[in-house]
């Protein structure tokens, strides 16, 4: 008898779970079809490809990151070779300068042209690298901006469908504003600052004027400060404003739920079921759009970031290794040139951070 009761209970529970699931699945499919009108996966993929990304809409974060790592592994030997070539050339120049100074000391006849020749040779070796890296950084920032024009509205539309309308508007506006600011600053201020820093560093290494060194340091500080202020201000604003917007959205949804509760029972049931279905479908789609966006952003900047970092490392290593054999302004110049790559790396990283922070903020916002 008890086994029969258990079997009946099991069947009843199965029916109770399954029956509501069927119309719910159908409604989810209807909601997903409708939400699909808000987000065109193919258009997003195409926009990502146009900006240099390689993400597929609908793939998981693990698959996307795995693909980026595989691509990075394939390209890494070539990038290392490029960076190492410059680093080795610098090292050779510095070592030759060291040898020349040793000969000078041994012979007792001064050769004041040795440091100047070292500076000119270092500048000649690094000029093409610097132009290439600056162009690369510029391209990444404009590619990110172009991609953001397509990604952010889609992300905002889906986030708004989850009920977080205020938060969605806030995140999109903040990301677009900061992206535009970064793009304007890039051409109008940051690139001139980087070139100014390099010029001042080269002039200091050639002339030995401490004022030029201080000016170079000031320009580097100014560029770093601008990037830091933008990054800190943006993340801080996003965090604080998202919290406030979340409270406003929660209040709006509670008001809507209260209004629904006053409707005719059948209508109220349809309304609340539809709202929950849209919420659930939008939540899933929000995750999909967010993952696609993150993988795209990472794939757009993986090569530039690797290239900049490897060049930074190569120049820094050359300066460090040569400093033991030939300490002086020429070795310090190589170190300062590596800072220029670090600045461009910071700019590239910031452009990616703006989009990533907006996407992560949208995904992790608590659904109302």
């Amino acid at each position: 008898m008890s086994a029969m009761v258990l079997r009946c209970l099991a069947v009843l529970l199965a029916v109770l779970f399954l029956v509501p699931l069927v119309p719910h699945v159908q409604a989810s499919e209807a909601a997903e079809d409708v939400l699909g009108e808000l987000v065109d996966g193919e258009a997003l993929e195409e926009a990502g490809r146009d900006s240099g990304g390689s993400a597929a809409f609908g793939e998981s974060l693990e698959e996307g990151i795995g693909r980026i790592l595989d691509a990075g592994r394939e390209l890494l030997p070539g990038l290392v070779k490029d960076a190492a070539r410059s680093g080795v050339l610098l090292l050779v120049i510095l070592l030759f300068c060291g040898i020349a100074e040793t000969v000078q000391d041994a012979s007792g006849s001064p050769m004041p042209a040795v440091p100047l020749a070292g500076v000119l040779a270092t500048a000649a070796v690094s000029v093409s690298d610097i132009h290439a890296m600056v162009s690369m950084g510029r391209d990444v920032v404009s590619d990110m901006r172009r991609f953001a024009d397509v990604l952010l509205p889609a992300s905002a539309a889906v986030t708004a469908a989850t009920g977080a309308v205020t938060g969605a508007a806030l995140r999109q506006m903040a990301a677009v504003l900061c992206s535009d600011l970064l793009l304007d600053l890039m051409d109008g201020l940051l690139v001139p600052l980087v070139y100014g820093y390099i010029t001042a560093a080269v002039a200091w290494a050639a002339a030995g004027n401490e004022g030029l060194n201080r000016m170079a340091e000031f320009l580097k500080w100014a560029a770093t400060a601008i990037l830091t202020v933008i990054a800190t201000g943006y993340v801080g604003y996003l965090t604080a404003a998202s919290g406030i917007a979340g409270a406003a959205d929660a209040a709006a949804v509670k008001a809507t739920r209260f209004a629904i509760s006053g409707a005719i029972p059948v209508v109220g049931g349809i309304l609340s079921d539809a709202a929950e279905t849209v919420l659930a479908s939008a939540g899933v789609l929000q995750g999909t759009v967010g993952v696609f966006g993150m993988v795209s952003v990472l794939s757009i900047c993986v090569v530039p970031v690797l290239s900049l970092f490897l060049h930074y490392l190569a120049y820094r290593l050359a300066a460090t290794l040569a400093a033991s054999a030939y300490p002086g302004r020429v070795a310090d110049l190589a170190g300062k040139l590596s800072n220029a790559f670090a600045l461009m790396l910071g700019v590239t990283g910031l452009s990616a951070l703006l989009l990533l922070a907006a996407l992560v903020s949208a995904i992790t916002a608590i659904s109302v």
Partner: protein, 163 residues
């Protein structure tokens, strides 16, 4: 804002560069110290001058423009969300009508349109149904629509399946 930053940095950099060149050219001694003091004051002036002449109204206008744009965008997002919700409600309500009609022995296709009520909540507003109607079926379905969905007869349309 960007132009302001650019002008400021260029001014300070130019003053510092001029000071560096001056210190290189001027011979050591009391003249060099006087030049260093004058140059330092020039750099200080270049650093402070744009800040002193900063127009606070420009910042207030920029903030106001940003807020206006954000509010407009928020309204647009809300409208999109309401449109999505409305279409799902229409789909669910149409399915409900078809299910209820089937219980009455009526095989029909229904379309429901929604409209915002006084609280701004989208509710079923009008219904159109297509079927091969038997006598009395339209009245029975109409009563159910008015009772369950609150749709009065004047917003109910019954048409033959071929229409």
């Amino acid at each position: 804002m960007m132009q302001f930053l650019r002008d400021w940095l260029l001014g300070v950099t130019g003053a510092a560069l001029a000071l560096a060149v001056l210190k290189t050219l001027v011979p050591r001694g009391s003249v060099s110290k006087v030049c260093a003091l004058a140059g330092g004051l020039a750099v200080l002036f270049a650093a402070l001058q744009p800040i002193v002449s900063l127009d606070g109204d420009v910042l207030a206008e920029a903030v106001s423009a940003y807020q206006t744009q954000r509010e407009e965008f928020q309204v647009q997002l809300q409208e999109n969300r309401d449109a999505v919700l409305g279409r799902v409600i229409e789909s669910r309500a149409a399915a409900y009508v078809a299910d209820k009609a089937a219980e009455m022995g009526i095989s029909c296709r229904a379309e429901v349109t929604v409209s915002d009520d006084e609280n701004g909540v989208p509710v079923p507003w009008a219904v159109s149904a297509w079927a091969d109607w038997a006598p009395g079926q339209q009245e029975a379905l109409g009563e159910m629509l008015e009772r369950d969905l609150g749709i009065p007869p004047q917003r109910q349309s019954f048409m033959e399946r071929d229409e």
